[in-house]
Subunit: 122 residues, 2 copies
Amino acid sequence: MTAIKESSTIQENKQYALDKCPVTYVMEKIGGYWKPIIIYHLSTGNKRYSELKRAIPAITEKMLIQHLKQLEADNLVIREAKPIVPPFVTYSLSDAGNGLLPVIEAMAAWTFKEKDGIFKTK
Amino acid sequence: MTAIKESSTIQENKQYALDKCPVTYVMEKIGGYWKPIIIYHLSTGNKRYSELKRAIPAITEKMLIQHLKQLEADNLVIREAKPIVPPFVTYSLSDAGNGLLPVIEAMAAWTFKEKDGIFKTK
DNA sequence: ACAAGTACTTACCCTAAAGTATGTATCATG
DNA sequence: CATGATACATACTTTAGGGTAAGTACTTGT
């Protein structure tokens, strides 16, 4: 899952930011172009892998599972696989994942305000 | 300020995410290891360039102004320079920047919950 | 027997973001 | 006359994330 160089200032600074900054900690988990979109689609109900794929046509399969795996590793989504063939795998938000929804809504709210020009340029 | 290649799928997908996803829009503005930290320091009061530098020893000067410039361009911080020498430049949060504080607090709150194990692993 | 659907995996490439190092202009002070 | 403080700028390198393309295993339908 994308190997990382252990000894680089960029990793050290990441660590620094992760420790010092609870905001960075969240962004590590929901950052990247696709994660918020995936989370959004899961917030409207459990979805199969193929459903997600169809819901987000622009994403490649590599990016989709890569992010799903990361979200699962971070305990934000839960993967359930029925041991049948053809496979039947469902993804859903965990408690922690659901806990992020207010954060996500706050962000969305800010964006709409900003785009509506609610904040004067001062 | 870091030239960008206009024609690449990564840019297209970024654009897609920015249009489709208000969350990504926020993260574009406060993403990166240092921006949240800078914003935090400004949220406790206006700061001179050199004060920020001292407050965040691990950051390089390049990263510091680069992010300050971006934040200014995004209308999140305001730069005020007194036309004297030695220079006296102050940075402060704009209305839009202050509008982000609830978002930032929501993120911090989630992190603390998560680290305290409030979310059970299911 | 061959295509289609399920859910992935893997090898390789490209770029934006981050970091390193050094330089600039102006003035005050020892 | 050279050092320190102010607030930057700029060339050059590295790396982590994102993208492309192709393959896997197993079954059902035609």
